[in-house]
Subunit: 255 residues, 2 copies
């Protein structure tokens, strides 16, 4: 088999945040597979067949990519952010494991990208400057009790926490519940960042307190970063959002 699947991280939105390796892999592809808005980010060109699909069909999409590659095509599966972080790469390997045994011998390459928490953090300063976790609030694939047990564990251990998939029309209350849990463990003035559509034309970034965050709107395009005890604000003057960073140092007895 001469086909190949490359799973490509498109980063948060701005094409200037693609790596050169990701751009090269897109240029070499014959078939382009992905969720509609990600496929739409890739310019049309001669010789590139486009297969855009709706959300929530990750494993079907992965199987389609593997079938095309097994037939000899050079396939690019596009993913927002980094493909390995709550995105297409794990779905692809699930399909490999459950599918045609020959698929495990295909040439499968993952091209990393700038995941949302890195892009959001860069926009406000360095809130991930200490130890941190990435936790998906979606309970589509794991029980909600697992989500809350994990969140409570890392809040108590004083990690900064990036919350992916905080809310959707089908999951309207999970973010509120998570922030309520956080408010029982962390001070009300803890910095919380709501970073929406980072680097895209409709970007909106808010630096809030935990108390304010509990009243603030969010949507599917929002990434939430909950600060830890070492997360601090540096005021920058009137009308300018403060820098937010987490100190690298932890005092003795702080944990």
């Amino acid at each position: 088999m001469s086909g190949r699947v490359t799973v490509i991280g498109l980063g948060p939105g701005d094409s200037r945040l693609l790596t050169e390796a990701a751009s090269e892999a897109l240029a070499r592809a014959e078939d382009l597979i992905g969720y509609i808005p990600y496929v739409a980010r890739v310019p049309e060109r001669e010789g590139l067949r486009r297969h855009a699909s709706d959300n929530r069909v990750e494993v079907d999409r992965a199987r389609h990519a593997l079938e095309l590659a097994a037939s000899g095509r050079r396939v690019a599966v596009v993913s927002g952010g980094d493909p390995g972080v709550f995105a297409m790469a794990a779905a692809l390997f699930e399909a490999v494991e459950r599918g045609d045994p020959a698929w495990a011998r295909l040439d499968i390459v993952i091209e990393p990208g700038i995941t949302a928490m890195l892009a959001a953090a860069a926009r406000v300063g360095a809130p991930l400057g200490g130890d941190f976790c990435a936790l998906s609030l979606s309970d589509n694939l794991k029980p909600w009790e697992v989500v809350t047990a994990r969140l409570e564990a890392v809040l108590r251990a004083d990690f900064v926490v990036a919350l992916y998939n905080p809310i959707s029309s089908a999951r309207p209350w999970q973010l509120g519940a998570a922030l309520e849990l956080a408010a029982g463990i962390r001070p009300q003035e803890t910095p919380v960042i709501f970073a929406r559509a980072v680097t895209r034309p409709d970007e909106s970034i808010r630096v809030l307190t935990l108390a304010q965050a509990r009243e603030a709107p969010a949507d599917m395009a929002t990434l939430v970063i909950l600060g830890a005890s070492g997360t601090r604000l540096i005021p920058r003057g009137e009308g300018v959002s403060p820098f937010v960073y987490t100190s690298r140092s932890v005092a003795r007895g702080a944990a």
Copy 2:
């Protein structure tokens, strides 16, 4: 003040993993500041002053960058991986907070990069496919008891864990202690990845079991990923390293 500091993520090593935005920021810089091997990655050019410094002087380096920017220079501070993940961005904001109040009004931009855990994960499959944490094993800036308390918390909550700064000549035993702690909580056959110098000419990536990892050598350039209960191997045939991925799904009662 017309100066600017841009803290630039160079990614894991291969220049093809820089973002276009990072490359552009390097091209605009007048002064280049950073740890010797990172400065060495940036080609020399006319008009670029190079200020390479030894490791462990992050805050001095940050102050130097801020002073130059305050005098009107366009300064690039270069960092391996992503500047916001155990790298220069937090040190820069520490210097801003403690330094000349005018520094908080400087134009400070963070250009994100591919951090080591994303690059390492991409090389083997999708081991960060579920919830995960990034934890520095260095006890230079935090007490060792904080490191172990955090590690134990996230192991018990079944996160995948990326261990940064696992070992150095001054910290020879910490990785062994961390793996011993892990072995008390996770099964001996748990997949563990030792990813050394990812994307660089001397790259070496080993997929081990937790039992094997406890006997395996590591050095400063190694990034360790400890699998969780959902981390699985997909064999690829004789002489080829298996794919490693973490399932997106968590069964009820698994936490």
